[in-house]
Each structure stands twice: as C-alpha cells, then as structure tokens.
Symmetry: C2
Subunit: 342 residues, 2 copies
C-alpha cells in the first residue's frame, strides 16, 4: 500500500509554496523574481528553496533599492533518514507509542514548508510560517517498501513581527488564523503557545505580536491540550486542519503588504533594523529548528539561516523604544504584554 | 590581611581601561568621546562601561558618518556573589581543589576587562580582548572579612577579526602578543586554543585570524598544558604575565588603526557587513561568556551584547567570498586554514 499521507503532505506543501511565491511576485511585478534553487540531499530527500534578495550592484547603496521585499525565503523540504536512539529517546516524551531500545535506530520521514518574509518598509511586518509532518517507522523487513508507522505528528504555525504596531494588521492576521482553525479553543491554546515560544527572555519581550504555534499534533495525548478540548485526532482530520491553516497564509498576510502606508524616514528604518537585531537574537539563540540545524553536521546551513534579515542593527542602551508615548515605545509595550487580538 | 590580588587586579584593569579608551579617543579627536557609564550591581559589585557609538541624527544616514570607529566598548566589571552548588560542580573539572557538596554554595569574586572595537573602514580589523581573575572562597566565619581562598585562576586573551586580510597586520598583532608572553610554548598553546575557540563549526571557518585565548591558569594541573611546559604558576607570576598581555593591547592594535589604507567602496562595505554577520553568529551561538550572560536573569544585557557590531548582513548563498582569486576569497581561505603567523 502506498503511504498516502506522505504523498498528500508533499503535494500540499509543493502547491502552497508555488502559490505563495506567485502571490509575493505579483505584488511587485518590477522586482526581480524569486530564485528557485532545487536541491537533493545525499542522505535522502529533496527540497526547493525559493529566495528573494536584491543585492546592490556596483555604485548602488542599499537605500537606493526600491523593491517591496527586502529578503524572503519560501522553502520546501521532504527528507528521510535514520534517527539515532538518543533522538528517539527525546521524542518519547510526547510520543509514548515510540519503541525505544538504546541500540535501535529508526527510519524517519519529514516534510515541511517554512517561510520568512522581510519587507523593506519599516511599516510592513515581517512574517514567518512553518507547516510540517513527521513520521517514524519500523525498519522495513525484506520485501517491504517501508516499515510499520510507529509514530507520526503534525506541527506548525505562523506569526507576525511588525516594527511599528498597526492594531488593524494584528487583528486581521489573528482573525484570519482563528477562522482557519474553526476551533476557538485550539486557537487560544496555540496563540498562547506562540506567545510563549517566540519570546526573548534576555530582553523580556516577545519577538512579535504572535499568531499560532503548535507541535506534536496526533492521536496521542497532548501535553499542552486538555483531553476535554475537541480537536482533530485522525491523520486525515489533522491534515485538513493543517491545510486550512497553510491556505490561510496568503489571506492573512498579503493584504498587509497591499495596504497604503505612510512615508518612512531614516528614523523609522533605524528602529526597524534594531528590531531585526532582536529577530536575529531569537533565531540564533532560541529557535529550536535553527539550533537543531546548527548542530547537524550535514545540514544545509544556507537554508537554515535564510530566515535572518538582510540587515540588523545593535546599539548600546538605545533610547529608541524607551521614550514614553512614542510609536516605538507603543510597540515595545505590546511585546512585553501580549494582548488578545480577537 | 587584605586580599591583595583582588585589589591589584582591580587597579590594573581600571588603569588599562583608561589607557585604552584614551588611546582610542586620541586616534580621532573630532569624534564624539566614549560614553562612560558607571554601574553598581545590586547583588554585589561595580563596573564601568565605556562605549563609543555615533548614531545618525535626523536626516543623516549611517554612510554620512565619518568617525574612525563605528562601535566600541571597553568594560570593567568587579563583582562578587554566591555560586550555587551546580556551578561549583562544573568548575571542579578544572579546579580539583574546590570542595563540593550538593548543599553548599560558595562566595566568588570576579574582576575583568573586556573590550571589542569595530572600526568603520572595511580595511581595518575588529579586535576583541578580555582579561579576568576569578576567586572562590569558603564562607567567612564570624569576625572574618572573607573566607579562605579555595580556588583561583586567571583567564583572557585577545584576537583580531579583519574583513580583508592584511598579512602584515596579522604578523604584527601575533608578534606583539608572542613577545608579551615571553614564553614561546605558552604562545603556541594559547594561539592554538584561540583558533579552536573562535570557530564557527556551522560555517567551518574561524571567526578571525586569532591571537591568544586561555582560561583556568593557576598553580593546579592544566588540562591543555603539558606538565613539562614551564609556565607562571604562582598568583603573582600569573598576574605579571596577564599584565604584560593586557599592556600589549595598545601596541598590538592601535598601530593598525594608524596605517594608511586604501579607499573603500560599497562592495567592500557589503563584505564587511557579511563578515560582521558571522561575528554575530559566533557571539550569539557559541561564545561562553555571552551564553552564560543570556542565561543569567540578573545579568546586564546591554553590557553582554555590547560586543555585537552596529550593523550586520546576511545574504542567501552570497557569491562574495567564493570567487577564486578575489580578496574576499583570500580572507576565507585563511579562516578555513589558520596559518602560523610568527
């Protein structure tokens, strides 16, 4: 029997990637197209990195570039390989169905889409989204194409990081995701998880204004969702849930890039770059995917660090963000105290 | 009895800080002065952060600023407090004299100078240096000012990070440090340690062209120095060794900022900012001091992250540094294969 979920997820994320890249390209027809970079992993799997960048040519400075986006990456990866016993052991906390034996490695399959968009205007928010499916099987016996599935789960989410707060944007983004959940309790649980996950403890502030974050969604007991909460549990149901969220990306974000915004000055740009510094801090210090990638010798470092902004800035004891009543301080206040948006 | 080593180290680093800041200020008399920021730690201790920054004013862009330095920090901190049992346990690997008991915390004292200088020109190298003294004592008994010293050690080093390789600079920097060591075997051991420490494994390259790095220097057996190597072992001897290295900072680095350099273009600046991105990656992902600071709830985050450059840049699959024979590729080759400079 063909493993239909693997195929389904792969088809879905390939299609979604194409739609998102097309939507972003249509926003700014005069800009260079995304660079499409297909790759094959020697140890098993494939991927497609779609990347937007616009490097200044000789004699040009960055500030002369006028594209809508500054840097963006929309990646798909579909990989398989072998999980060492230590990795399996760690996963057992959330997947009790996993058999563990200190001498046994198990085959895994992982398929996901991951994207980050950094617009050029300080008034337009950065966005991040990621949706993924993970499967662990027994070793295939002779004559089998693949072994029996011993654990599987879905994860993902999407979150927004503005430099300047636009409450209308925040409400639109959250509402679109909430509607796609079709389940208010799950929206609340995953909104809270998102606020907790995208948090810089050393700055005592969130990375952005949140969205959704979840992991380990399967038919097993979930450590963060009470058993009373109704939720999709079968693979097919969760896939439908995830597909709705994935498909909500375009309506959640693209309208924010179509809005008429004010003209920004060097002051606004400076604040945006300081905020991008915080983005870098989160990604390099705390983000699980990045940390895991940096530790994996065979990982594709360019794909892992694609989420970093083109430029970031650090100032010692910057006064920006501290002046009461300023737009910058208004943003910081929300990052220190995430409100409920819908 | 007064603990004279504490006082000596404090006096030395205070004086060195003043000399270094003065030397940097004299290089560029028209630039704003360093900001001197004295602080007191509620839980014990004091510090002085001397910081150079030159933030663009309204209507100015960063590229209009003409100061010699772009960002610099020269910090002194002299702190004391209590080490929890877990921290003591970790330190025992290198300090077998430490008594350990899972219920006993011990007083510590730490004094150090730490500095980073990021010049504006892509042809002038970034430098980092740090010298420190650490002491652990027994709890003071009644009537005692402080308990008996149960472990003490010195650590430090200095390293150079150019964007473009100038072999003469590299030789001058290393030779000055080697001469200050007055011990070729120690220079070799600490040069090697430096190349190993300031390394970005995910990029498979060094952060810069090295210098010296050492830690845990005391009268105990040292895990990285063979017992046959003659080395300073008594507190007074090691203090003299450390002082020579500290005092070598100015002659090792200041002449590099006084050299006549070529005129740089946007191309050179772009490469410098990409290299600064790698600097940020090392500091946030691997640097022990930064990692420790980020995890310490009461730490002064502005001082810890002062080492980050003002601006950094990330490009996906940048062609810079890969073109055979280019100046950028020449730099990368050295970072992938640290030579012996003297």
């Amino acid at each position: 029997m063909e493993n239909s979920m693997r195929k389904k997820v792969e088809r879905f994320i390939d299609g979604l990637q194409d739609e998102i890249v097309t939507a972003l390209e249509q926003l700014d027809p005069d800009a260079p197209k995304f660079k499409r970079d297909a790759w094959i992993r020697a140890s098993g799997g494939r991927g497609l990195s779609c990347v937007f960048a616009c490097t200044p040519e000789a004699g040009q400075t960055s500030s002369m570039l006028q594209t809508k986006l500054e840097k963006a990456g929309v990646n798909v990866s579909v990989v398989h390989g072998i999980l060492p016993p230590a990795a399996i052991k760690e996963m057992r906390a959330d997947h009790s169905s996993l058999p563990y034996d200190e001498n046994t490695s198990l085959p895994f399959f992982a398929a996901g889409i991951s994207l980050v968009v950094h617009p050029r205007s300080p008034f337009e928010p950065t966005v991040h989204a990621n949706y993924r499916y993970f499967e662990i099987t027994e070793q295939a016996t002779e004559g089998e194409q693949m072994g029996k599935i011993v654990a599987w789960w879905f994860g993902g989410g999407s979150d927004l990081t503005p430099s300047y707060l636009d409450e209308e944007d925040a409400r639109h983004f959250h509402k679109t995701l909430k509607d796609a959940c079709q389940n208010d309790e799950l929206y609340s649980a995953f909104k809270k998880w998102c606020d907790e996950y995208f948090y810089n403890p050393h700055r005592q502030e969130s990375r952005g204004i949140g969205g959704l974050f979840f992991d380990d969604l399967s038919n097993e007991k979930h450590s963060r969702i009470s058993e009373e909460v109704k939720r999709p549990r079968e693979p097919e149901e969760i896939f439908v849930f995830l597909s709705r969220l994935g498909s909500a990306f375009i309506p959640s974000y693209i309208p924010l890039l179509q809005k008429k915004r004010g003209i920004h000055t060097d002051h606004h740009r400076r604040w945006q770059l300081l905020r991008r510094g915080r983005y870098v801090e989160f990604n390099l210090v705390y983000d699980r995917g990045t940390k895991f990638g940096l530790k994996t010798p065979s990982a594709r470092i360019e794909s892992i660090l694609m989420s970093l902004p083109e430029t970031a800035r650090w100032e010692y004891m910057s006064e920006l963000g501290t002046e009461p009543g300023s737009e910058e301080e208004k943003m910081v206040r929300v990052l220190k105290n995430p409100p409920s948006w819908v």
